[in-house]
Every structure is written in structure tokens, then in C-alpha cells.
């Protein structure tokens, strides 16, 4: 089979990212071309994909530090206050022998954000180095990264529900901590980073000479 495949970009066509209609690319200076079917602005590749994805990934990495150091929630019960970070929340669940929930929270709050940060960073570096290594696997890696991101919101929802439920004054009151805001920041910026990354760049690098 031929080494270089025919892509829409090479055939001077643009695939609409909203409705997936193939539009003939029109070279008209200064005018933004829109999709003939749905009216979305057409871009052959996502705009400033690498710069945006890098900025959002770096933001997430910076926010990740306070998100894990600061307490995400504090349980005040009979005058005793017990602050919890994301990690100590998981160890408490293990200590309470709630293993299935502990595994669930461990994956959603610790494994998923780390995997996302590593895989987006790797994808960005590999595209910039014009890597030819396993493009199909890297595309699958991108799809997985994009798909699992939402599940990191789990802890944020748990905090909100506990804050709403447990407010019985001195007996038991539940207070969200500042770490929760940073953690929400990590989740939102990694999701946005995955959205800004354009997997077609992986394949564009394949067309260029080694």
C-alpha cells in the first residue's frame, strides 16, 4: 500500500468538525469560510492546537500541586475537625474497609488525572518531535484520554453532596476545603486541553520526511 495516504487537507477539502460535512476549501483572502451545511467556521486543523493544549496542560500541572496538598473537605464533629486531602480521603476509605469505593475514588481522583497529564504531555511532545512511532496507538491513546477525563469530577460531586447533607451544627458539619477548587481547576483544564489537541497532527507528522 502507498506510504502517503490521501487526506482531506491534501485534496484541499475541510471536514466540518461539527456536522462532518466535507467542504471544498476556498482560497479567498481574509474571509473566514463557514460550513455550507451547519454554518460552523471551518478550520482544516483545530486553531493553535499545540499552543492551547500546552498552556492548558501546564495550568493543570501547576494546579495539581495545591489540589493534592490542601484539604478538599473537613468534617467537624463534636468540636473535633478532621481535614482530608484527596489522598487521605482514599486511605480513610481503606481504613474503613470500604474497598470497592476506595478503588473507585482512587482511580477517579488519582489515577485518571495523572494518566491524563502524562498522556497529553506525551502526545504533545511526540507531535512536536514529528514522531513516526505507532500513530494508530497514539490516536487510540488520545481517544481514551478524552473519554476518561469527565470521571475525575467524581470527588467534586461527592464534596457538594456531603456539604448539602451533613450540616447538623455541632454534631456533624461538613465543610469544603480550598483544595477542592484547585482540584476542579485540574479537571476542567485537562478536559479543555484534550479538546484543544488535534489528533490529525499525529498523522500530519507522518507525511513529513523522517
Amino acid at each position: 500500500m502507498n506510504e502517503s495516504h490521501l487526506t482531506a487537507a491534501k485534496a484541499s477539502m475541510i471536514n466540518c468538525h461539527t456536522c462532518h460535512k466535507l467542504n471544498q476549501s476556498q482560497v479567498s483572502a481574509g474571509r473566514q469560510q463557514v460550513c455550507s451545511r451547519c454554518g460552523t467556521k471551518l478550520h482544516s486543523r483545530k486553531t493553535n492546537s499545540l499552543a492551547r493544549a500546552w498552556a492548558l496542560t501546564l495550568t493543570a500541572i501547576i494546579l495539581y500541586i495545591p489540589a493534592n496538598i490542601l484539604p478538599v473537605m473537613t468534617l467537624v464533629s463534636y468540636g473535633k475537625s478532621e481535614p482530608n486531602t484527596i489522598l487521605s480521603g482514599v486511605t480513610h476509605l481503606i481504613a474503613a474497609r470500604m474497598y470497592p469505593i476506595a478503588i473507585l475514588v482512587f482511580f477517579a481522583s488519582i489515577v485518571v488525572p495523572i494518566i491524563k497529564l502524562i498522556s497529553i504531555t506525551y502526545l504533545l511532545v511526540s507531535v512536536q518531535k514529528k514522531s513516526h512511532w505507532h500513530p494508530k496507538e497514539r490516536t487510540i491513546m488520545y481517544r481514551v484520554t478524552e473519554g476518561i477525563g469527565r470521571w475525575s469530577m467524581l470527588d467534586i460531586f461527592v464534596i457538594a453532596i456531603l456539604a448539602a447533607l451533613v450540616k447538623l451544627g455541632a454534631i456533624a458539619t461538613f465543610e469544603p476545603g480550598p483544595g477542592a477548587i484547585f482540584f476542579a481547576g485540574v479537571v476542567v483544564s485537562t478536559i479543555l486541553a484534550a479538546m484543544s489537541f488535534d489528533p490529525r497532527l499525529i498523522w500530519d507528522a507522518m507525511e513529513e520526511k523522517r
Partner: protein, 205 residues
């Protein structure tokens, strides 16, 4: 039923590979030969099935907002919460950003996703389109990744398990309606072929 004109040539949204779309039977999917992304999934009666499921989802969404969500009982004291109580409580405690985020991804976007889908699909079933139908469908597709009801539900389960040895938790009718919304929204997306909706929008009056 008018037959929508199908473009023969399609490009892969993940790798830009250009290929011809073979004729597909209901339930069959076309996969990109280069990166294995699903390019087209033909679904039987996509419009009517998606429509029925989203109407059901809307009804349960209404119920989920009316009834109590959970009741927390500890030493004779009771705390009744509703679906949006978490949002209000976080806001009251000075966590405005968090409460806004949860309002959007847990309640507002799911609601807009259901109503937006209905706004487009219901008239389209009669080959009509209402004011700004294309823009609405575009908006629905754009917010879809941010509607996280199923993650919210998992959060409820985690919170429930965490509190079971601390206090008595009674699950309310809203909780079950909420679960039903998730089921019917999932069925809607399973039945919906967005490409076919775009094709129909193109020819609808």
C-alpha cells in the same frame, strides 16, 4: 419519508483520511481504515427512537427537581436535601466557583441537552425546522461533553456509602427519577445518529 442525500466521500475526524462511504445497512458502522475511528453508524429509525427517549428523559428530569433527593437522619435530627441543595449550600459557604461548576455540569447542561435535542428533533420528525434549529443542535453537541449526570450519580453513591455508618440515609423519589434521566439520556444518544440529523436539517423546511 424523504431520503436524505448522503455524501459519498467522507474524511476521518481523527486522522483526516479521505475515503468513500460504503452503503450501510441499519446497525452497521463504517470504520476508518487508517485509525479505526467510527466514521458513520447507521441506526434504524434514529429520529423517532431518540425523540421518544428524550421526551421520557424530560419528564423524569422534572420529577427529579420536585421531590426530595436524600434525607440525612442523625440522633433524631433530620436534614432533607433536594437536587440543587449541594449547589446552594456550596454557594452559601463561599465556594461560588465550585457551586457554579456543579450547577452547570450536573443540572443546567443536562437540562439544556434534553430540551435542545427535543427542540430540534420534534419538528424534524415532521420535516420542519424551527427558528435557529441548526444553532441549537450545534450548541447541544458542543455542551454534550460537559453534561456529567452519570458522574454526579456515582458521586451520590460514594457519598451514600461514606455516610452509612455515620447516620441513616433515606433515598428520595428524586434520586430514582435522576437515575431514570441518566438511563433515558443514554438511550437517546445510543439511538441518535447526529450525521443523519444534520442531513435531515439540510433538507427540512
Amino acid at each position: 419519508m424523504p431520503k436524505a442525500a448522503r455524501p459519498i466521500l467522507i474524511a476521518c475526524h481523527d486522522c483526516d483520511f479521505l475515503c468513500r462511504l460504503p452503503p450501510l445497512r441499519d446497525g452497521e458502522r463504517a470504520v476508518c481504515p487508517r485509525c479505526k475511528a467510527v466514521l458513520y453508524h447507521k441506526k434504524a429509525n434514529t429520529l423517532s427512537r431518540a425523540l421518544i427517549h428524550s421526551i421520557t428523559a424530560l419528564i423524569f428530569f422534572g420529577l427529579a427537581n420536585v421531590f426530595p433527593f436524600m434525607t440525612f437522619k442523625l440522633q433524631g435530627r433530620e436534614q432533607v436535601t433536594f437536587l440543587t441543595s449541594g449547589v446552594i449550600e456550596l454557594c452559601r459557604q463561599g465556594f461560588g466557583e465550585l457551586s457554579f461548576l456543579i450547577l452547570i455540569v450536573g443540572v443546567l447542561f443536562p437540562f439544556l441537552k434534553i430540551t435542545g435535542t427535543l427542540y430540534v428533533l420534534l419538528p424534524l420528525n415532521f420535516n420542519r425546522k424551527l427558528w435557529k434549529a441548526r444553532e441549537t443542535f450545534k450548541f447541544v453537541e458542543a455542551i454534550a461533553p460537559w453534561a456529567m449526570m452519570e458522574v454526579f450519580m456515582l458521586g451520590v453513591i460514594v457519598a451514600y456509602v461514606k455516610l452509612t455508618d455515620l447516620a441513616t440515609i433515606v433515598l428520595g423519589a428524586s434520586m430514582y427519577s435522576f437515575a431514570a434521566v441518566i438511563v433515558f439520556m443514554t438511550l437517546t444518544s445510543a439511538a441518535l445518529n447526529p450525521t443523519e440529523i444534520w442531513e435531515r436539517l439540510e433538507i427540512a423546511k
